[in-house]
Amino acid sequence: MIQIVNLKKSFGGKEVLRGISLEVPDGATTVVIGPSGCGKTVLLKHIVGLMRPDEGKVIIDELEISSLYGASLFKIRECISVVFQSSALLDSLTVGNNITLGLREHTKLREPELNEIINEKLEMVKLEGTAELMPAELSGGMKKRVAIARAIATNPKYILYDEPTTGLDPVTANKIDELICALQKKLKITAIVVTHDLISAYKIGDKVAMLREGEIIFEGTPEEIRNCEEQKVKEFVRGRIYE
């Protein structure tokens, strides 16, 4: 279970996170929505330990990640995978090598076993036959799929998605949403999805939390947020300003 307790972070005097507390239930998909620049990605980077909080803590399976360094931090990261907004595939490696990068580093699997994993994961994300391609040869949607395949290759307990549908056309975005839902059903991984795409949030989220001006202003189910009458939530959900 992931718990975020009173998390605060400032950059150059600007408070980005103002005491966020959130519980992420196991086996479900929690979607964090909010307008651009409200601190969603910063929150995600704290969860995986890429940033250190000024105050507060992130607890993963009873371990406080914000106080871990070096080998112990890498150890806990082995059970977390991240799908970055930019996909962040290594340009110098083929699709197949990108997928098995973590496995090559942390396991002693041989080439035939690794190839089997590559084929299995590429089949799951519906990209069969692309193992030998370089990332530069892929479209935006394909890169996202490979990033998802890389994320699930290590069989993580948690997956964090940073804006998985941003920059994609509606059809491709819908396919990515369906893929996230299908993987969720099949693998039962605890997922946190950070997005400002409400269609996506309603489709994939079991729980939705809304972040605005560095604070969580709403927590509930997709149905509850749709019917919420709180002004700031309503403004974002319905896409207009209420005086």
């Binding site: 890429l50 973590g102 290590t154």
Partner: protein, 260 residues
């Protein structure tokens, strides 16, 4: 008057703060590198790949600069010592200049400009496109995966390239001395052997090793610290080349004091 002095004081203070913070950051980066270095055996493939990129790919430019520099050295030796210097000293001048100074420094500046900038640009792009963050989230130490192979490869490639540079420099000097100044080939070769001291060769190679470490470390440091999109990568690349050149020239002086 008072206003001017205050401004100057603040300016000087900020510059000092900047220099000290730069030194501090580089020191911490070197500490991270030394912590990751013992696991270099995990990156043999990556080291070999980097030796190819830094060493083999730099060969043409090292050959061209060394040949022409050797020819210029021989020409200058003949020109300066015209009428009173025996021909045997031409070969000696060329080989000593190359072993002690020209070989290592020329190679380091050429490779530093070529590879230091490319290392920074590559790692800087990886930084701004979150590829380095991705490595961290895959529980892979980016310093071990990206920095160690590049620094180790540069430290291996530089002495090897320096040996090539010294050899080609002597050939260039020989071509100039024999074809333009009519020095007999055997006398030129005898000059190369005359007063040969092995510690000059080793001293030059120690310099080259140190320069290789500087190129690898500073190239990686600036790439890792790149921020602000493609413009930031451009700035980091410029800073990287400038810092590599300054450090090579400074360390050249101090190593020469210790070795020779």
């Amino acid at each position: 008057m008072v206003r001017v002095r205050t401004r100057t004081t603040i300016h000087g203070h900020e510059i000092m703060k900047g220099i000290l913070s730069y030194i501090g950051e580089v020191t911490l980066f070197i500490k991270d590198f030394l912590r990751a270095l013992p696991k270099f055996y995990k990156s043999f493939g990556l080291i070999a790949e980097q030796i190819m990129l830094i060493g083999i790919a730099s060969l043409p430019i090292v050959l061209i600069t060394s040949f022409s520099c050797g020819a210029v050295t021989a020409h200058q030796a003949m020109f300066q010592g015209k009428d009173y210097m025996p021909d045997i000293y031409v070969g000696m001048s060329v080989i000593k200049a190359f072993m002690i100074e020209l070989g290592p420094i020329l190679t380091a500046l050429v490779v530093g400009g070529r590879c230091g900038s490319s290392i920074t640009a590559e790692l800087g792009s990886m930084r701004i496109t979150e590829q380095i963050d991705a490595l961290e989230t895959l529980a892979i130490d980016p310093v071990r995966y990206l920095v160690v192979p590049r620094v180790v490869a540069a430290a291996i490639a530089l002495p090897l390239l320096t040996v090539v540079s010294e050899t080609i420099g002597c050939i260039g000097g020989g071509v100039c001395a024999t074809l333009i100044h009519n020095v007999k080939p055997l006398i030129y070769v005898e000059g190369l052997r005359f007063q040969f001291m092995s510690h000059e060769l080793w001293g030059g190679l120690i310099k080259a090793f140190a320069f290789g470490i500087i190129i690898g470390l500073m190239g990686c440091y600036h790439g890792f610290r790149a921020t602000g999109g493609t413009e930031g990568v451009g700035k980091a690349t410029t800073q990287s080349v400038v810092s590599i050149f300054i450090l090579i020239l400074l360390s050249d002086f101090f190593i020469a004091q210790i070795v020779f």
